[in-house]
């Protein structure tokens, strides 16, 4: 490195190298986090959240018992309930298999709610379905890239 280079030239040499990009970005993130750390303790948790959890350890659907009767309206604290006229139907729905599980045993709540129906399906498919559209598209695109490169090189 020649000694008579100005400091700006040196910095621009570092920045212009692609290999240093990751380190630069990481450094920037560290700076933001350190500055943010000053304000972090003052971030108050808003107690009025959407889709709040209510736990009922006695229920057979334990971590995911959100109440409601199947094929009836269930109050779900969505952002805009009027946009999803059938919000709550999926939450309360149990397939025959999951109904049988719920009647039989006490510790299968996660399996029951992952089976079609339940609060998570309500959010993922109904009220926030667009998120899931984008997400599956990302999966599609990423695997498109991977399989294109894989096949080209093999």
């Amino acid at each position: 490195m020649t000694p008579n280079r100005s400091i700006i030239t040196r910095i621009s040499v570092i920045i212009s190298r692609v290999e240093n990009l990751t380190a630069l970005y990481a450094l920037l993130a560290i700076v933001v986090v350190v500055l943010g750390l000053v304000s972090l303790p003052f971030i108050a948790y808003q107690n009025d959240q959407l889709y709040e959890k209510t736990l009922d350890p006695e229920s057979t659907l334990d971590p995911y018992d959100r109440g409601g009767v199947p094929f009836g309206t269930t109050p779900v604290k969505a952002q805009y309930p009027e946009n999803s006229p059938y919000a709550g139907y999926v939450t309360a729905y149990l397939t025959p298999f999951s109904q049988w599980l719920a009647d039989t045993t006490h510790h299968m709540g996660t399996t029951i709610v992952a089976h079609p129906g339940g609060i998570i399906d309500e959010i993922l498919y109904n009220t926030r379905g667009l998120d899931t559209v984008v997400e599956t598209s990302i999966l599609f695109v990423a695997f498109g890239i991977a399989s294109y490169l894989f096949r080209r090189d093999s």
Partner: protein, 78 residues
């Protein structure tokens, strides 16, 4: 689960985590990761999520076996 049990199993998990960092041998590291999971399993059981525990305890060994694919012994100690 009362306080004493919490402390005991937390101790198991912490011993595993710290030793996984400090071990230099690759098999030692893997064993220590297994110990961490041993400390965590009772916490899942105590909350009553048994189906999750079954699934997780079958998948964690699969992860370990996948890592073992690149752990051939000839690369290092005698």
């Amino acid at each position: 689960m009362d306080d004493l049990l919490v402390l005991l199993f937390a101790a198991v998990a912490l011993i595993g985590a710290v030793s996984a960092h400090l071990q230099r041998d690759r098999f030692g590291k893997l064993i220590a990761v297994g110990i961490v999971f041993g400390g965590i399993a009772p916490f899942i059981a105590a909350r009553g999520y048994l189906d999750v525990l079954i699934a997780v305890s079958l998948i964690v060994p699969v992860t370990t076996i996948i890592i073992l694919l690149i752990c051939r012994r000839d690369a290092h100690d005698a």
